[in-house]
C-alpha cells in the first residue's frame, strides 16, 4: 500500500493551463473519486501522473518517491475506451504479459497471465483471443488485468465505465470494488458520474478549470457541499424520481 500525492502540479499545453497548481492525496489503500466537467483537467492530471503529460511545476510521488518518467512505474492507469486501449494485433495474454516485470520465465509468465485473467473473472483459456473477439466489458477487464500485471501500488482509473453499456457498467464497478478490497490498492477513480463515484469512492475531489475546488469524505461532500460548483454538479445529476430496486 502506498500513497499517491500531487503537490502543486501544473500542466500547460501552449497557452492553455490544463491543470493549475493541484494538490491532492490518495491515502494508502483508499479510493478517491475525482469529478468535474470535461475539459476541467481530470484526464490531464491522470496522464501527468503516469508521465504522459508534461508537468511544468510541482511534484507527483508514490509512497514518498517521485514517479519515474520512464521505465516501470509504481502506478498504472486504466483508460476510458476499451476499444482503443488494447493493441488489436496482440492477443490479450500478450498484452497482459507485456506489462509484467521482466525476468520471469516463460511458464511463470503464462501462469501469472492466467492468474490475472482469473482475478478479473475472465476465462484464462482465452488468453490467445484477440480484443476483437471480446465484448466491451470483457476488454475493460483485460485492461484492468494489464494494469495489475505491473504490480502497481496505485491505480488510476480514468472514466473506465463511461464507454460501456449500463448493463455491464455494474459488473465492472463491482469488480473494481472487489479488487480494491482484495489487493488493498490505492485508486484514483476519475468519473463524471457522481452516482458512480459515490458508489466506489470514500473520498471525492471536485475539479473545475484545472483546479480542485472542493474535497472531502464522499458522504460529507455529497450531503453538504461547500462549493457552489459542487452544488451545481449535484443538482445536475439526472435521476429517476423513484428508483426500483430490490429491498435487499
Amino acid at each position: 500500500m502506498s500513497e499517491l500525492r500531487f503537490e502543486g502540479v501544473t500542466v500547460r499545453y501552449g497557452a492553455t493551463t490544463a491543470v493549475d497548481d493541484v494538490s491532492l492525496v490518495v491515502p494508502p489503500g483508499s479510493v478517491v473519486g475525482l469529478v468535474g466537467e470535461s475539459g476541467s483537467g481530470k484526464s490531464t492530471l491522470a496522464r501527468a501522473a503516469v508521465g504522459l503529460a508534461p508537468v511544468c511545476a510541482g511534484l507527483i510521488t508514490v509512497g514518498g518517491a517521485p514517479v519515474p518518467s520512464r521505465g516501470r512505474r509504481p502506478l498504472q492507469m486504466v483508460f476510458q475506451d476499451p476499444y482503443s486501449s488494447l493493441d488489436p494485433r496482440m492477443s490479450i495474454g500478450e498484452s497482459v504479459a507485456e506489462a509484467m516485470p521482466r525476468g520471469a520465465g516463460r511458464a511463470e509468465r503464462r501462469a501469472e497471465v492466467a492468474r490475472l485473467l482469473e482475478l478479473v473473472h475472465l476465462d484464462p483459456t482465452r488468453a490467445a483471443a484477440r480484443p476483437a473477439e471480446l465484448s466491451g466489458g470483457q476488454r475493460q477487464r483485460v485492461a484492468l488485468a494489464r494494469a495489475l500485471a505491473g504490480r502497481p501500488q496505485v491505480v488510476i482509473a480514468d472514466e473506465i465505465t463511461s464507454a460501456l453499456d449500463v448493463s455491464i457498467q455494474g459488473a465492472v464497478l463491482n469488480l473494481v470494488r472487489e479488487l480494491q478490497r482484495e489487493l488493498g490498492l490505492s485508486i484514483l477513480f476519475i468519473s463524471h458520474n457522481l452516482a458512480v463515484v459515490r458508489y466506489v469512492a470514500t473520498h471525492v475531489a471536485v475539479m473545475r478549470d484545472g483546479r480542485i475546488v472542493e474535497e472531502g469524505a464522499t458522504d460529507r461532500v455529497l450531503a453538504a457541499p461547500d462549493h457552489d460548483y459542487t452544488r451545481e454538479l449535484l443538482a445536475a445529476v439526472p435521476g429517476l424520481s423513484t428508483p426500483t430496486r430490490s429491498p435487499r
Partner: protein
Amino acid sequence: MKRWMSVLRTPVGLTATVLSIGVLVLAVVAPLLWTDNADAIDTDDILAGPSAQHWAGTDNLGRDIFYRTLVATRLSVELALAATVIAVVVGLLIGTAPYLLGRRPGRVVLAGTNIAVAFPGILLALFFAVIFGVGAKGAVLAIGFAGAPTFGRLTQTLVAGISSRDFVAAAHVAGVPRLRILFRHVLPNVSEPLVVNATIGAGAALLSFAGLSFLGLGVQQPAYDWGRLLFDGIGSIYVNPAAALAPGIAVLVAGLAFNLFGESVAKGLGVGVVGGIPALPPSPEALEADAPAAEQAHGSGTDLVLDVRDLEVAFPGPTGPIRPVRGVSFSVRRGEALGIVGESGSGKSLTALAVSRLVEAPGRVDAARLDLLGSDLRVEETKAQRRLLGTSLAMVFQDPMTSFNPTRRMGGQLAEGARHHQGLDRASALARAVDRMRAVRISEPERRAHQYPHEFSGGMRQRAMIGMGLMGSPALIVADEPTTALDVTVQQQVLDLLAAIRAAEDVALVLISHDVTVVGEVCDRVLVMYAGKIVEDLPAADLAATARHPYTRALVAAVPDMDTDLDAPLAVIPGRPVDPADVPAGCAFAARCPLATARCHAEEPPLEADGTGRRVACWHAGEPIDLEVDGSLLGRDEREEVEAR
C-alpha cells in the same frame, strides 16, 4: 488473409495481380532464356521495321528489339525495386523520427519533410541525378531519395495516428521502451497501408526510371532498361516506330500493373492511399429560409413529424441477410421528445440512420411506411427530398472525433452549413456559430472558434457537434448518444438546451441513449429496444415505478444512483446481448430473463398495446421479479459472460 483474397475477386484486382505476377516472372526468366537472342548482332539487318522474324524490328546494330524489351524487364524491375526500397527505408526513418525523438526535434523533421514533399518528384530526381552522377546507381539513389519524403510523411501520419491511441499510452505506462513500442505496437498496425503504398510507389518508380533513362540520365550503354530502349528507339522513330513503342508499352503495362495492384489491395483492405481525402460524414444542417416546407406539412392537418411502420434494416451476411432492425413501428408528434434506449447492438443507431437515409449500401432499408413531415422517404431520392432532409432534420452523431475535419478551424466548420443553406454571409454565419458554441457552453467561444478540433477536449468536441446540429432550426432533431461522453453538468446544459429549443420552436426530438436515466429525464415517451425490436413503449415518467418488461426493469436497476446501497454489489444483467446474425427463436431476451418460461423460448411475444397507449412485448409483463443482488447471482453472471464468449 481472407481480406487479401477478396482483392482477387474484383476484375480489376484480378487483372492487376495477374499482370504484376507476369511482370515479375518475366523479370526472372527473360534474361535466362533470351539474352542470346537479344544480344545477337546482325549488321545486315539494322534499323529494320517489324517483320515475322523481328516482331518489333531491330536497332542500329541489328539487334532484336522485342527480345531486348523482354530481357530489359529484369533490370527495369530491379532498379525500380531498389529505388522503392531506398524510398521506404529512408521514409521509415524520416517517418518514425518524430515519434522516437520527441516533440521538438520531431517538429524540425516534420517541417523538413513538408518542404521536401512540396517539390515535384521529378525535379528532386533530376537534382539528385546531378549530385550522384549520371548512371544506374545515381538514378536509383535519385529516385529513391525523391520518393522518400512522400513515404516519410505517410509514415508520420500513420504513426501519429496509432501512437495517439490508448494502447500505446498503456505500453508507455507499463514501462516498455519507445523503440520496442515502435516495433511491437506501432509498425505492425501501420504495415498494411505502408505495404500497399510501397507497391504503388514501385509502379511510380518504374515510370520515373523510364523518364530518367529516356533523358539520358539513367542506365548507360551497354546495359539497357526500358527507358534506355525508349531513348534509343525515339532516335529512329521515323524509321521504325515499333522500336520506341515496344519498350513504351512495357513501361506502361508494368507501371500500371503495380499501381493497380496496390490500389486494389488498398481498396480491398480499406487502406488509404497517399493523397486520399478522408470522407466526412454529412454535416447535420438545417435551414431557416426553407421553413415553408415544414409549414406545408404542418398545414396539411397531420400532427406527425415522423411516422415509421415495420422498419427493417438488413445487411448481407455469409449465411443469408442479417437483420439488426426487425420491424420497428413508432411515430413522433410535433414537439414531442421520444427516447430510444437499449444496449449497444440493439439497433438504436441503425433506426436513426434509416430515418435520416444514411444507411449505406449494402445495407437495405424496408418499411411499410417511412414518412417525414408527410413526405415518403422510401421513394427514390429526389432533390426536393434531399432539401427536406437537409432542412427539417438535424442529426447529432455519437462520435465527435470523426465528424470534424482535422485541418479546419471549428468556427468555420460550424458556419459552413449556415452559409450554404441559410444564405448567411461569412461574418453572420461565423457569429451564429460562435453563438451556438456559447449555447452549448463552450467557454470563450470567440477564441475557441479559431481553434482546430484537436485543441478541443473530447467533451468540448461533442458539444461543438451538437452546436453544429443546432445551426439552423430543424423540425426534428435526431441525437444519437449525444451526451454519452459528457459530464453531468454539461450533459444537463445540453439537454436543457435541446429542451429549450424544443419548447421555443416546437421541434421534435428523438434522443438515443444507452443511459436510461438520461432518457427518462428528458423525454416524454421511451421506446426500449432489444435485439432489433421494440420491447416496451411507455411514458418516461413510468420508467422507474411501473415498467413492465423484465429488460426495462433490469436496465433501470443496473445504474447506480444517489440512493444505491453501498454495501451490496450492483445488479447486473446476466449474459450478453443477442448477436443480430444469430437471433434465437421465441423471445430474444429469454436467455437472460429471470421470468423466462418454456413458452418464452418457443413463441415470440408480440408488441401489444394496452388501453392507455403503452405497448409491451412480454408473456409475463409486470410479474414480480426477485432481484437477488448478492454474491451468488454475481458469480453466476460473471461465469456466464465468460462462457458466452
